[in-house]
Amino acid sequence: MGTKFNLDRKPVPDDEINSHKDFGELVNKFKKQSIEKARSDVNFLKNKKATYSAIIAGVAVVCTVTYFAVFKKEPPKETANDKIVTTQQQHTTSPENKQNKAFIAPPISKLNVPYTSYKVKAEQGASIKHKSNSKIIIPKKAFVDKQGLDIVGEVEIKYREFHNQADIIASGIPMTYDSAGVQSHFESAGMIDIKGYQNGEPVFINPKKQITVEFSSEHTADKYNMYELDTVAKNWAYLGRDNSLVNKKQLKPNKQSDVKMLEKKESPKAQELQKQIDAIPPKIEAEKITYTQKVNQLPKTIEPNKPSKAIAGRPQFQLEVNYKEFPELQAFKNAVFEVGKENKNYNSKLADITWSSAEVSEGPQKGKNYLLTLKLRERVEKLIVYPALTGADYDKALKSYESKFADYKNLAAKREADEKRLKEEFEAKQTALFEERKKLKEDQVQANIKYWQEQQAKLDEEYSSMGNQEKVVRIFNISRFSIYNSDCPKNLPNDVKINPIYVINEGKSISPSNIYLISHSRNLVYNLPYGQLPYNTNEKYSLCVLAKGKMYLCNKETFSAITTAKQNKIPLTELDANVNDAADLKKAMGI
C-alpha cells in the first residue's frame, strides 16, 4: 500500500461537517444492528445445530450432547474423550462464560469479600481504623463532586482488603499482569479496594489532596511494587516500587507470653469473691468467742469434798479455821487435821511446842489437803494436813456431803448437756462457714476459668486476625478511588506440565470454566485457562476450580499425592454448602 502526501489541503468547512451529523440515524442503525445481531445469534445456534447434525454420522453421541448442552442447558453425559469437545463448545454460550467476560468477576457472589462502610464528615476528615488494624487517613476537604466543587457533609467510604489466596479468588479481581506483552501472575503482599459516595452518587478525591491507607500486611518481604488496576486497559498499572515498609516489628505477636500474663490476672468477679472469702475467718473467730462466752456463763459446779473420818493413832491438830476463807471446811466444823504421811519432817516433838501462830492455806490437792504453817520466832514448820471428823460430826458432815454431792451431780449433768449443745451449735456454725468459704473458692476458680477462657478467646481472635505473623505497614497514597495492590510479578511454574482430567464424585469428569492453581509456598493464585496444568516440583499447591457455578477443591495433600504419582486425574470435592464467605473459603482451602 502506497502513501500519498497532500500539502496544504483545504480544510472541510464546519457547516459541511455538521451537515453530516445525524444522531437519530446513528441510534436507528444501532437499534437495527442490535435486532439483527439478536437474530443472527439465534440463527447461529440453529446453524450450529444443523452443522452438527450433518456431521452426526461418526460422532452422533457428541452432537447429541452438544445439542442438549446448548439448548437444554443440562449437564452432558459424555465419555472421557468427548468431554473436552462438548464443554468447550458449551463455553461459548453458557451464562458462566458471559460472566467471565466481566473484568472483575467474583466466581461465587456469596463468597465475595464484602465492603466495610465508614461515614466521614468531608469537612473534618477522619482517621479510620479498619478491623485488620489498617488505618485510612482522610484529610479535611478531601472530596469533590463531579463539578470539582468541595463536598461538605457525610461521605460514605466503602473499603475492603484482600490478604490471601482465598480473598483473591473470592473477589474475582484479575491478578495477571501484562508487561510489554509478557504475562505474569501477581504474588501479593495485599490489596485494597476503596470507593467514595455521597447520597449514593460517586465522589472524587480532591486533586490537591491524598488519602493515605496504612495497610497492615502479613507479608514482610521488601520485594513488592505498587500497582493500580486499570479497568480501561484491563491491566494493572505500575505505580512504582513499594518502599513504604515501616515499623517492621510493629505487631510481632508473642501469644504464649500474652497467655501467661492473662493467667496471672484475677477476673473482676474472682476479686469480688476473694473479699467474701477473706471475711469468713473473722466470722469463725467471732462465733468461737460467742461460744466461749456462753460456756463461761453456764453455772459453775464445784464438787463437794467427802468428809474423812479420823483415823485413830495418826497425829492430829485442832485448828481454828476461818470458814469464810475455806468454805469447803464448813462441813468440817469441829474437824481435826491429820498429819499426812508425806510430811517427812514431822516428829512428835512438834506437838509439844506452843507455836506463836498457825496458818492454814491451800494444799497441793485442792479441797483435799491443806498446808499448815507453824511459826515460833524464827522457826517455821510446814505440814500437809488432812481434815477429818470423828463420831457424830463425821455422820452429820457425811449427810451434808451426800446432799450437796447430789445437787452437784445434777448441776454438773446439766452443765455438761448445755456445754454439749453450745459446742454443737458452734461447730455447726463453723462448718457452715467453712462450707461457705469452700464454695466461694470454687466459684472463684470457676470465675477465673471463665474469665481466662473469654480473654483467651479474644486473644485467639486477635491473633487469628493478625494471622499470627509478623506484620508490616504498607503505605498506599491514593489520589483516585480504585483498586491498589502491593505485589510482585511471577512467571507460571514450568517444571512439569500435565493434561489434567478433573473428576468429581464417582469418577465423573468435568470441564471447569475457571481454574485457580493456589500456591501454598507464596501468596499467589495462578488463574489458568482450561488446558495444560503447570507446576513446580519444589512448591506446594492446591487447586480450586469453577464449573457450572459450583466450586470444587483439590487440597494440597491430594495434589501433592497426584504430582508425586505423576498422575493427571485430579479428584475434586465440591465446596461445602456451609462455606459462606472468603474466611470460610480460606479454611476450606487449608490456607
Binding site: T3, K4, F5, V12, H20, K29, V144, D145, K146
Partner: protein, 198 residues
Amino acid sequence: MLLDAVHMEFSPRYHHTADMLLDEQMIIEAAKQNPEHFGPLYDKYYKQIFGYVYQRMDDKDTAFDLTAQVFLKALTNIEKYEYKGVPFASWLYRIAHSEVMQLFRNNSKLRTVNADISDLRNICEEVEEEYMEQYKGILMTVIKDLPEDELQLIELRFFEKRPFKEIAEILNLTETNAKVKLYRILERVKKTLTKTSK
C-alpha cells in the same frame, strides 16, 4: 532536540478539566443504560473524529461514512468502556484508527498524509535545522515512507498538534515511550536532512 519544548500551538481539543471529565463520565454511564443519551458525546466528538479520519485519506465521503461507523462501533461497545480518568476521546480515536487501518487493508483506498508547510517547518525546527525549500520534498518522501506506527506519531504530533499525553493514550503507550520513539524518528529525519544539505 527538545521534544518537550513547545514551538507550536497545540490543539486545545484534548484539554479537559476535572469537571469536564466527570461530566463526561456521567453521560457515558447514562448512555450505557440508554443509547439515546449518547447524543452529547456524539456532538462533542463528531468533528474531532471526522478530522482524524479525513486527515488520513483523500475521499471526504468515505471519511464521513467511516466516522459514522466509528460512532456506531462506540455505541455498540460502550458497555465495555470503563472510565479511568482519561477523555472518552482516546477510546474513540483508538476505534477510529482501527477502522481506518481496516479500510486500507480491505480496500484499494490510498493512505494519505495531509500536512501544511508550517508543519514541515515545525519538524525542521524540532531537529534544529533551518527550513529550506529543498527540504519540503525530502521531508514528504521521508514521512510517507515511514512505517505506519512511526507515521502515526509524526501525524499526531506535528500535523494534528496533539500533546504527548494524548498521543500516548491514543497509541496505548506511555508518554516516555512515545517521546523516545518520536525522538528516534526525528534523529533519522535530521540525518537525512543533514546529508542532503551537504
